[in-house]
Symmetry: C2
Subunit: 119 residues, 2 copies
Amino acid sequence: MDKVNLSEKFSLFSEHWTPKIISELNDYQIKIVKLKGDFVWHDHGDTDEFFLVIEGTMFIEFESETMELSQGEMYVVPKGTKHRPYAHEECKVMLIEPSGVVNTGEAESELTASNDVWI
Amino acid sequence: MDKVNLSEKFSLFSEHWTPKIISELNDYQIKIVKLKGDFVWHDHGDTDEFFLVIEGTMFIEFESETMELSQGEMYVVPKGTKHRPYAHEECKVMLIEPSGVVNTGEAESELTASNDVWI
């Protein structure tokens, strides 16, 4: 029975936009990711997507507005909602989504990451 | 589109052991709860249960060991695993579990709380 320490897990990698799995909840996965710079516009047609900012500030651009999320703030992007995450400075984020979700959703991109890397 | 600020949500109630729903992720609910004192032994036969400590320290007693979880630490209690949460001092926790889960699982208790209160 091993608990997960978020700071310890974040210290194990430095690259941006590559979610790492840290735990599972039924058929969902808990992931952490470091964000910096611009991500691509995308959506997930089949699932909502949970964001919780652990450290720093990120933005989620939607078609009608842009949301700023800082440490201790969370948002669940509804399924099928086009969004574009970005961060001016490095931001540490927890994500939760069903197992197998691809980070870029329906969009193909050089930012598309492997979706089965544990850390 | 409203983000959720955890500190703000925690400031809206003071009672212990009564989870409040703050968001939904597909058919899961994101809840926050303040813990202090002893909870009852229970398990959830149908689902894992996610704990993330937002502030303070809590303990989860299992049949074979006791886990200490402090700020920035998380654990997913596997389905069917008997456990007893407790906290010496008030501890603020985020929980995630499928909609409709009862806090005391299979155990009936005066600590059984309503499972549909939003905050």
